[in-house]
Amino acid sequence: MSHIGFIAAAYAITAIVLAGLVAWVIVDGRIQQAALGELERRGIRRTGRQRGGEAT
Amino acid sequence: MKLTGRDLACIRGGRLVFEALDFRVDAGMLLQLRGRNGAGKSTLLRLIAGLARIAEGELALEGGAPDVPVKEHIHYVGHLDAIKPALSVVENLAFWARLLEGEEVAALAGRAAIDPPAALDAMGIGPLADFPAAILSAGQRRRLSLARLLVAARPVWLLDEPTTALDTDGQACLFAMVERHLSSGGLALIATHVDLPLPAATLTLGVRQPEPRPEVEPA
C-alpha cells in the first residue's frame, strides 16, 4: 500500500470506530427510553425519587 | 395408562435407600409420598424419572407410546428450578416448551400444551414475561418452574414438595392444575409434607428400616 493507503486506512478505521461509539450511545439510549416508557405505561412508579443515595 | 414399580431398590452414595418397594398409579390417580426426611421420597421420584439408577426391581409404564422411553412421558419438578437468571422469564419457559415437546407422548396426555405466555398468566406471573429471571423471588421461581408442566403435554407428573416457597394463591393454583391434569386422565406422584386437598392414595416410605446388605453390588 502506498502512503496514501495507510493514511486512508487510519482515518477510515478511526471514523468507523468513533461512528460506532456514537451509534452505540444513541441506540442504547433509545432502548433504555423505550423500556422505561413501557414500564411507566404499566403504572410502575420508582421508589422515592428524591433519595440521593440511590443511583437511579 | 398405568405406572407400576415392582420390588424396587435404590442405592445412592453407597447407602441402601429403600428396597422391595412396590407401587401402582392408574390413569387419573394421585399417589402422595409421605415419610420423614431422608426416607427416600426424592430418590424414588428421581428413580422413576430415570435420574437415579435402579439397583433392583422393575419399573413399567403400560399404555405409554411404543418405542419412547418412560422418562420422556414424565414431567419432573424437583427442588432445583432449572432457570437461567440471564434469560428472560418467557425465554426460559419457551426453551423448555420446545425441549420437552414430543408428538407421540402429547397424543397420550389428556390436555394439550399451552403457549408460554398463557402458561405464565395461568401461574400468575404473566406481567414478568420480559424481565430477566434474575429478579424473580423464590416463590416466583417456583411458579415459573411449575409453568413447565403446562407448556409440554406429558401424562406423568412427578412433583417433589411443590408447595415449598408458594404462597396460598400459588398453592391453590397448583392444586387446581393437578386436579385438571388428573381429571383428564393424567397420573401424578407428589412427595409432600403438606396435606393435599385432593383424593390420593398414600405411600409412606422409611417405615421399615432396610436391613444393611453385606455386599450390595450396584447394578
Partner: protein
C-alpha cells in the same frame, strides 16, 4: 429433533453472549497470553517470528480450556442437566450441541483474533490467512476433547482446576500438527496441506468420539 437441537444451540450461544456469559473471555485471555509472551522472550522480531505459531497455539489451547469447566457444571447445579436428559435428545447429542455452541462463542473469536495477534508476532501478512485456517481446523478438536474433562469433573466442586490437567495430554497431537501446520504456513519448508489434513482428521475424530465419551462420563454424575 432438529428444532430441539436448534433451540438448545440458540440458548447456549445467547447465554454465553449475555452479561456473565463467557463468550469473549477466551479471546481476551488469548490476547493477554500473546501480549505478555514477548516480555519473557524479548522484543526481537526474528525470534518472535520463529516461535509465533507456538505462542498462538498454546494461547488458543489455554483460552479454550479456561471456559470449559462450567460447560456442564452450571446446568448440573441449577437442575437443567437433569431435565435435558428427559428430552428426546440423546445425551451425546446434547454434549455435541453444547460443545459446538462453546466453540462458536469461544473458539471462533480466537480464530478471528489470530491474524491480528499474528501481526504482533511478526508473522508475514501473507501467512496470516493460513494461520487462521489452521487454528480454525484445530480449535474445534480442543473444545470437543475438553468437554470430556468438563463432563468428568461436573460433580466436583473444584473441577475447574482438574480439566486442564486431565485434558492437556490428550490435546498434544492437535498441538503438534497444529503448530507444524502453522509453521508450514509461516516459514514453510513443508507444504501446509499435509499437517493440515491430519489436523482436520483429528478434529473430525474428536467431534465424533468426544461427545460419546463425555455423555458416558455425565451419566456417572447421576448416581
Amino acid at each position: 429433533m432438529i428444532g430441539a437441537i436448534a433451540m438448545l444451540f440458540r440458548r447456549e450461544t445467547t447465554l454465553a453472549l449475555r452479561v456473565g456469559g463467557g463468550a469473549m473471555m477466551g479471546a481476551v485471555f488469548f490476547l493477554t497470553i500473546v501480549a505478555i509472551m514477548p516480555f519473557a522472550v524479548g522484543p526481537d522480531l526474528n525470534l518472535l517470528q520463529r516461535i509465533g505459531p507456538a505462542i498462538l497455539w498454546v494461547g488458543a489451547l489455554l483460552a479454550t480450556l479456561i471456559g470449559l469447566d462450567r460447560l456442564f457444571q452450571a446446568d448440573h447445579e441449577d437442575g437443567s442437566l437433569d431435565l435435558l436428559t428427559m428430552t428426546e435428545l440423546p445425551l451425546a447429542v446434547i454434549v455435541a450441541v453444547k460443545a459446538a455452541a462453546h466453540w462458536v462463542t469461544t473458539g471462533l473469536p480466537l480464530v478471528i483474533a489470530a491474524p491480528l495477534l499474528g501481526l504482533m508476532l511478526n508473522v508475514e501478512p501473507a501467512a496470516l490467512g493460513a494461520v487462521a485456517l489452521t487454528l480454525a481446523a484445530g480449535t474445534p478438536a480442543l473444545t470437543f476433547i475438553g468437554t470430556i474433562g468438563a463432563a468428568l469433573t461436573v460433580a466436583l466442586r473444584r473441577g475447574g482446576l482438574l480439566v486442564p490437567i486431565l485434558i492437556l495430554p490428550l490435546t498434544v497431537p492437535v498441538l503438534i500438527f497444529g503448530v507444524s501446520a502453522t509453521n508450514a504456513a509461516v516459514t514453510g519448508p513443508m507444504a501446509v496441506s499435509t499437517p493440515l489434513t491430519i489436523l482436520a482428521g483429528l478434529t473430525l475424530l474428536s467431534v465424533v468420539l468426544a461427545p460419546i465419551a463425555a455423555a458416558a462420563a455425565l451419566r456417572l454424575a447421576f448416581d
